[in-house]
Symmetry: C2
Subunit: 243 residues, 2 copies
DNA sequence: GCCTACAGTCTACACTGTAGAGAAGTTGTT
DNA sequence: AACAACTTCTCTACAGTGTAGACTGTAGGC
């Protein structure tokens, strides 16, 4: 929309180094992080790399595949699982890691959430399935029967993604404003229809996503452990609240 | 891509009835339900309604607004809250309703999940905020302090959306195939790297989303009730498992 | 040196959202 | 009935999209 040109390929020194899938994907990720998903067009990415847009098709079959590649790249940042036998601690750590990852790449989250809806399990990029496999491993090694492991995984991962989505969408409109209502743009809501929401503006405005996630995880994991009557220490709240 | 033409506007009888926002939005929803989000282009929708594409701009400022309208339309199908004082039962019912709604309109789910990430609370279509307001009301009426109500809402809604996403992405590739591995397309995964996942194919293939949701809700709600030490009956598993 | 692959480029096409001007239709007033 | 004011709808045009297909340049092997 805005007529501004995008200045130049960031002055790549060794001008014409060969491309590679890694190069293409990380440029794509950088672009998405910096300017959002819509900015990631083939032409723009080509421009960013100082190459013709069509050259990208050597490294990704089409735009969708490029997006898959970006998802995969991001999920690869998620370190997984030394052999800690304490599954609850392990899952809690992963949850916090994934949350931070999402906060670091908020523009990619829609991809993580949306692409799997149109790609059957077996056709997903392997990198996006690795967390699943490894969490299953973790749980089975901790003593769960395979079906129960899957069960736990589903509840856990479901909640985790839900939390992340929740947290990412409660963002602040105008950080300079110090009236809570205005910071969140809630003043536009008709007071008759939305009294509770408006009244909660101050509480909404300071949201401790990390603490909420931690508590939710605690509830969920200890609940699951109880139900499956399994190798679970009582799973008290973790001690991360200072980080 | 495919050269097939889309046959004709479904032979609207009173040919040139005036358009209206409701008409436009419900045609849009029908189109999305039938052919997916990508099929919803201005030209195509115009064609479907027997009108010039540009006429749509009287009823939605642009494509994004159209999508918001569709989200809103879908969420309006969610009936909310007679004055049942049993908040747990109430939230459980809403969860199942929303799940069914999502299953009825799977192609809209990406919108429900994605649009709020780029629209601050105060600027969302009012219809999408109503569930939030009403659930808050429900909880506060049930005796929660406002902050706690928000707290419960976040955990609850987070989990709920997470579950729905989870369930929708575990879909079957080839229902005719009776080997579980093949039905899910899992045979493409390298056995060395994904032993657990492959072994779980049969369990994956029959997923009782409703039961899983119900159990997760039970765990979460009773956990929350316990933590907030509040008006909560023990919240045993519900009796919906036969529907 | 030529030969074979592959990497990168160019051109072209069908399709997208939407600005802007105008035509057609509807409604209210006399 | 005739005009005016207003709304709804249509037409044309444009800049931008993904990508097919043919082409050019370059790198390595002998």
């Amino acid at each position: 929309m805005s007529p501004e040109e995008h200045p130049a390929p960031p002055a790549t020194p060794g001008k014409k180094a060969r491309l590679s899938r890694e190069l293409v994907l990380s440029a794509a990720l950088a672009l998405v992080d910096a300017e959002g998903l819509d900015a990631l067009t083939m032409r723009r990415l080509g421009h960013e790399l100082g190459r013709d847009p069509m050259s990208l098709y050597r490294y990704a079959a089409n735009r969708a595949a490029l997006l898959d590649g970006v998802s995969e790249l991001v999920l690869n940042e998620l370190a997984i699982i030394p052999d800690d036998p304490n599954w609850q601690a392990q899952l809690r750590r992963i949850a916090h890691d994934l949350r931070l990852l999402a906060l670091r790449h908020p523009n990619v989250v829609p991809l993580l959430v949306t692409r799997p809806l149109s790609t059957p399990l077996g056709l997903r990029p392997l990198g996006t399935l690795r967390p699943l496999e490894q969490i299953l491993s973790l749980l089975i090694d901790a003593g769960f029967a395979p079906d129960d492991a899957l069960h736990v995984y589903r509840a856990y991962y479901g909640y985790l993604y839900g939390h992340i989505l929740n947290e990412l969408q409660e963002f602040v409109v105008d950080p300079d404003e110090n009236e809570a209502l205005l910071r969140l743009g809630l003043h536009r809501l008709p007071p008759k229809d939305f009294p509770r929401l408006r009244a909660l503006a101050p509480v909404l405005a300071d949201y401790d996503g990390m603490a909420e996630l931690d508590e939710g995880i605690t509830i969920l994991l200890s609940g699951l452990a109880a139900r499956l009557s399994l190798p679970g220490a009582p799973a008290g709240p973790s001690d991360l609240s200072g980080a």
